[in-house]
Symmetry: C2
Subunit: 195 residues, 2 copies
Amino acid sequence: MEKVTNVAPESVFLYNPDILNGLDWNAVKNKLSPFITNENPGEDYFLVRPLMIDDYDKGYLQLLSQLTVVGNVSKSDFETQFRKMKETGGYFVTVVEDIRHNKIIGSATLITELKFIHQSGLRGRLEDVVVNNTYRGKQLGKLVVLTVTLLAKKLGSYKMSLDCKDQLIPFYQSLGYNLEQGNSNSMMLRYESKL
Amino acid sequence: MEKVTNVAPESVFLYNPDILNGLDWNAVKNKLSPFITNENPGEDYFLVRPLMIDDYDKGYLQLLSQLTVVGNVSKSDFETQFRKMKETGGYFVTVVEDIRHNKIIGSATLITELKFIHQSGLRGRLEDVVVNNTYRGKQLGKLVVLTVTLLAKKLGSYKMSLDCKDQLIPFYQSLGYNLEQGNSNSMMLRYESKL
């Protein structure tokens, strides 16, 4: 992580980048070919790291807009939300940067939730997974999902869950996620849109 | 809420009980018969309120154990987790107490999540819904779910979601939740149990 910590003080990261070191990649080695990790992401111009407060200028929101509606979020709005997340804790937005172009090209978010059940346990949730269309074939989707999945494990989560569309089921199954029989329904209530 | 604030200072609540006042019950009036609300829960010995730090002694964890594994959580563990949730914010554990017996008989939790998408929006999640078996027929399940659903709306959430077993789908549909076609899958990865 030296190349990260040399260019930016820790305070500009959403979470401490050190916790991305030493994840248990051996546990998922068979899911990647060739084998890559967050510390060795396959190309020397890829960098996997926590979201940074200046990622507004590196196209993070444009990337998210490939996923869903982002709306009109100013740089100041972004920074305010970033600081709220950082203060709250439990938000592990993790990105891949193409450092040749100073551009965010992939992202996945781990949210941790404190529980009373499961011995006052910690639950992980996977949210907002997206990879830039033009970077297909680099396993970056697998890489960001496995990175935050292993991070949730390292933080002591008893489980990790996600909601997804039908066509993404095989992708997540290939990474170890299951549809549990009789218990795999995600239901939604949408309030009037603010947009 | 006078009867609440008279007996306990605000600091012992997980969240400010005042925000449960004036929820938009008109929007869901047709979902309850007879009509009840968190402020008028049908019996004068029912009290709907935020979780309190002494609810360990009122059987909150015994109630949760009707839902899933709770494990060995001491009073000190409970208080530690309660304080962490309170400090973090975004945890709206809401309970029904039978004040005749000083006993927690129902609960539902709203968790709010800060997003960058949807104009730096707020998302709600419904978790850990449980009602004591011996209090059936009082609409307490509907009451706790609708209370936190309306609370999420009041807090400005753009949507609220939940995961559930097959047999609970009709119940949640009756309260306004939907299985969205092609986008209603909840997937899970379980790490080794701590228990």
